[in-house]
Symmetry: C2
Subunit: 348 residues, 2 copies
């Protein structure tokens, strides 16, 4: 089969690799019908994270089940399934507590499982899915093509934006500011709106993105950054600051902005993978600002969000602004790296 590999900084390609097949009775084999490139894929692409030459890429995909092991009971061949960006058993104590990303038996796409077997990644033609019952979430029937982008976001960005808002405890009537207008930030705007926020401020200076933010429920768009952006949001709240700031980037600057935006006693949700961030605990203490979030256990939210998509209640797939065939995966990465695209979808 063909699947995406990273061989060095900016050296991404579609490679010919052995076809995967079932290894264990709990496995499923999935034919990928749509995958996408994540903002976090750009860290190794840019050489900021270590690269293991030939490493498999992609952790967001949907597809059709081709074959299942003898012990798989919740999905069967022909099912349309959504894969979360971490595989998990959905039965251990940690999964039962809703933290599937810390599953006692799970792991990451493109790595190896606990017994050393390689696990495929998402940007390819086929994936062997370990712990298929715990990992995959099926739709009742094969969905219409126009729903596929919406469902694909449930692999990561929509569940991650939702986790950010849930972790910050967004409540009906809250004023919320979202720092970051990438796909996750836009989904956080949508999540805050769904949770009943009365006012959602999107920090965005990209017109295409702020247009989507408004579609997703943003009541205000603030294009300024840093201190000017903080001053603008503070002015919108008569100097008080927002009840909740959703940090969806992961840089020291974005966290500083979130801290400066939030009122005393407010809450910060954070889902941007933190890079060189130091949390000022004395400031959090003095101002009673809480912080919660982390690597999103999207599997926990998938059934609910799937139902909302299938009911036509939300359209998070609007975050895709580029669709390419898998064969053009290098261009998908380049477009996102160069900020020509917010999020790129790959079709077979």
């Amino acid at each position: 089969m063909r699947a995406t590999t990273l061989n060095g900084p900016f050296d991404i390609q579609l490679s010919d690799l052995p076809d995967p097949h079932l290894h264990r009775p709990t496995d499923a084999l999935v034919r990928v019908t749509a995958s996408c490139v994540c903002g976090s894929d750009l860290w190794p692409y840019r050489g900021i994270n270590d690269i293991k030459p030939g490493q498999r890429m992609g952790h967001e995909f949907v597809g059709i089940v081709e074959e299942v092991g003898d012990e798989v009971t919740t999905v069967r061949p022909g099912d349309f399934v959504i894969a979360p960006f971490v595989w998990s058993d959905n039965t251990c104590r940690v999964c039962r507590a809703g933290i599937h990303t810390s599953c006692e038996n799970g792991g990451w796409w493109g790595a190896r499982d606990r017994e050393g077997l390689p696990v495929d990644a998402g940007q390819g033609e086929f994936v062997r899915v370990p712990l298929a019952d715990g990992t995959l979430v099926a739709t009742g029937s094969v969905p219409a093509d126009e729903l596929v982008p919406d469902l694909l976001t449930l692999s990561d960005v929509m569940g991650t934006g939702w986790h950010c808002a849930v972790s910050a405890g967004v409540r009906v009537g809250d004023t919320v500011a979202v720092v970051g207008d990438g796909a996750v930030g836009l989904c956080a705007v949508l999540a805050a709106t769904m949770l009943g926020a009365a006012r959602v401020v999107a920090m965005s200076r990209h017109e295409a993105r702020s247009t989507i933010a408004v579609e997703f429920g943003a009541t205000d768009v603030v294009p300024q950054r840093g201190e000017a952006g903080v001053a603008r949001v503070r002015a919108l709240t008569e100097g008080l600051g927002v009840d909740v700031a959703l940090e969806c980037v992961g840089t020291p600057e974005s966290m500083r902005t979130a801290l400066d935006l939030v009122r005393d006693g407010g809450r910060i949700g954070f889902v941007g993978v933190p890079h060189d961030i130091e949390l000022p605990i004395e400031d959090l203490f003095r101002r009673n600002v809480s912080i919660g979030g982390g690597v999103a256990p999207v599997r926990a939210y998938l059934p609910d969000l799937r139902d909302r998509v299938l009911a036509g209640e939300i359209h998070p797939g609007r975050v895709f602004d580029l669709t390419l065939p898998l064969a053009e995966v290098p261009e998908a990465y380049a477009a996102m790296h160069e900020r020509r695209a917010t999020k790129a979808m790959l079709l077979p």
Copy 2:
């Protein structure tokens, strides 16, 4: 009047000072009938915090209203009142959000107000109370003597322990570990019990304190510290860790213990004034551990906790294990500094 001053490290004394009187129509004059020494008073006492020679000490007191300004409506002469450890207006936007410690018009006992007028501290005979309506909480009638210690804890330690548990979102059925067996830690045990925790683990190796912890609802006492303590608590939870850790000390060691005790997806409440703590944000992110708390807005909780004390539902005054006349305030500090007392009460 006589009031406590700190003149240098370990140099605490009862000094003769001018009698306070009303300055503003929103002031009240309170005769202190009981005050106490806080663990946080030991930081300047030990010379770890800066000392301004002659600085007034004490931020926890109850007393009888002697006189009120023309604009004071909620308390009147003869009322028994409880003072929170920060004075506040209880009407600004931040107070209305429940964060009285960030009041737009409030301040600290023993400091100066926004117009430069000195504000008395609690360890003395009289206190001019600014913003009396917003600050003081009265009981319906003068309470029996045996309730005074319980009511005095609502000035700080009980409200602070409560804030820790509330900030961590302790829920019915949770397993909670409390790090720190000082008065605040013991009150956090009580708070977690009141909020419905199914299991409350007190980290305590002092028999007198662990006895109170058990009275306050602790189901388990773990005397070990550091890694051994973590191993013991992990064993109690079959390796998983606790749902909630309440950090009531404020040192790097106590925060490390809290982080190591809590399960993935768990919550840390913190109310120990942080000293040299660095929060490991990558660890919080990877494990989805949230953290909340800060300087406790005890005024927000005072009416509810007062009612629980008056109803005989809770007896937080058990944390006092030394009672001295105000004249012996140096011994009260020395006893707490030398850990001969958990918390010392001062009576006129």
